[in-house]
Symmetry: C2
Subunit: 319 residues, 2 copies
């Protein structure tokens, strides 16, 4: 079994790499693993799998064809220009978030490679107005370029799947919290910052009002969900090609209370409210509570509570 991870250097990509080698898909450990990102990822040592790591810019001519010619059985597509960056750099975001997906799908079709194609999508495909709890059949009304581009790619993957050119499944990930070390360019980045920075004794800006509600999941749950998705067969899935993953619906204030209960009031005092309307306008356009019947039906996991997420993160940085 040959697994390819596109966007393998990212936080989710690197955790997925470790987990794939340790746990496999449906219990099967891959004998080949190909890691793709703009810069080459470090290759884990002492593994039985043949691991290749390639630095590749998917927007360059011929890059996607090269990937197709590796003939992977399972592809994780995690590469993205995320929300705030996509608003600022429209063209680059389109190149990665739509055009690279499109080109890769075409190259798979033309070379008759029909991999399982697990695509990381986002709740940014939704936009207001939405009800308190988003039903699974709510219309997609993205109001960001990132959300628009993810929606377009989802549609494309669904049609390629219907035609039998790939076996695609798009997972709409909640906001991932706590992201370690480096903030990324997502509008939601501060949701990790307000936990990560105070735990390290640093200040963190809070660009939204504390009553803002969000929909989050831990990196571990995201990785387990991606692995589970890769193991679902088309006969399990029927016509399902898009799934809203399970998450926790929580306010920023509750997140801060949890931080206090774990690390004390002094940690919370490092959070500096500084409203940023550009960030707030994006974040408030996202729904924060979802019906996830389909995810439950297929056995996708969920975090138990936010406190466990914070403790898990704390134990990792203390290692």
């Amino acid at each position: 079994m040959h697994i390819m991870i596109i966007g393998a250097s990212g936080m989710i990509g690197s955790k997925l790499t470790a987990r794939v080698l340790e746990k496999g898909v449906n219990g099967e450990i891959p004998d080949q693993l190909t890691l793709i990102d703009l810069t080459a990822c470090p290759v884990p040592k002492g593994m039985t799998a043949t691991i290749k790591s390639l630095a590749l810019d998917l927007t360059k001519d011929g890059s996607c064809r090269k990937l197709a010619e590796f003939r992977p059985d399972i592809v994780f597509f995690l590469a993205a220009v995320v929300s705030s960056a996509a608003e600022e750099n429209f063209e680059k975001a389109f190149q990665i978030n739509v055009y690279a997906v499109l080109t890769l799908l075409e190259d798979f079709r033309e070379t008759d490679v029909r991999p399982k194609f697990v695509f990381s999508s986002s709740l940014a495909v939704y936009g207001p107005p939405f009800p308190d709890k988003v039903p699974e059949d709510l219309i997609l009304r993205p109001i960001s370029s990132y959300g628009t581009q993810k929606a377009m790619s989802e549609f494309m993957i669904s049609d390629y799947t219907r035609k039998g050119f790939v076996d695609g499944l798009s997972l709409r990930l909640p906001t991932i919290v706590v992201r370690p070390s480096q903030p990324n360019a997502a509008a939601s980045g501060f949701l990790s910052g307000i936990i990560r920075e105070p735990l390290a004794g640093l200040t963190a800006k809070l660009p939204v009002p504390s009553e803002t509600m969000v929909w989050i999941a831990s990196p571990e749950i995201a990785v387990e969900s991606l692995l589970l998705a890769a193991g679902l067969s088309r006969s399990d899935l029927g016509n399902t090609t898009v799934i809203n993953l399970r998450g926790l619906s929580i306010s920023v204030a509750e997140m801060i209370e949890t931080l206090i209960s774990v690390a004390g009031q002094s940690a919370a005092s490092l959070i500096i409210p500084e409203e940023n309307s550009a960030v707030y306008n994006i974040v408030r356009s996202w729904p924060y509570n979802f019906e996830t019947k389909t995810a439950k039906k297929f056995g996708f996991p969920q975090d138990a509570e936010f406190r466990a997420i914070v403790n898990q993160y704390k134990s990792e940085i203390n290692v």
Copy 2:
């Protein structure tokens, strides 16, 4: 005012050309009209406008840039690989229905041309299950490549509009009946055939059960709707970037009864039932009744009854 019609040789395109020259947009007759299609359209004579007709394949490099450099004020994008053809020729359909739209939008953005962009979309963006009457916020669930591609283009046009790169409006046209002379490759083509052919004394195949319900509009109403759309300003429209046009919800059996009342039983006897599951599977996946509050609010027109559509067609072919 410079108007460009892309797909000007088609049935709607040629009727729109005539109507634009006669009636203009918001009462203003264009002083420039540019007609684009794969083969050059005939140029109407005796008009005051400067009319150019160009044969151009939008999928060829540089074609879209050429169009942007004409710096039109209003663009009608009517070019399409339609439903059945799109299922058969996936790649070509994608090139026209998505890639050409995308390239043209990018060329408009890069050359800083910000035209009114009226896009002809389709009810094929919907798919089952749907309620008896489709609400305006129903989720898009296309189950054809044509519907998928139209949905993708709609999303793109909406985002370009939000960003101010074009001033776009997608109109989801009902099935147009009666199409004169040549059947096109749409799965819905028979809906014109069962009126057009018997009126000409020819047989017509009926590939679906007669209880099949459809959503139709006359060519005249489609053209008036396109013209009206071109005249709506962004301040009228607010955030509206997609509109389901008004139509008639009617069964094939009712259409045949109308034919009988206009042309007698002998005409109807020329209709030969011959079920075609490929066609039926596409047509049955389309909704056949819509809420059209938004279209009504902006003053879009509607056919009064099917009998008037048939009589209008009859009067035209008798000329």
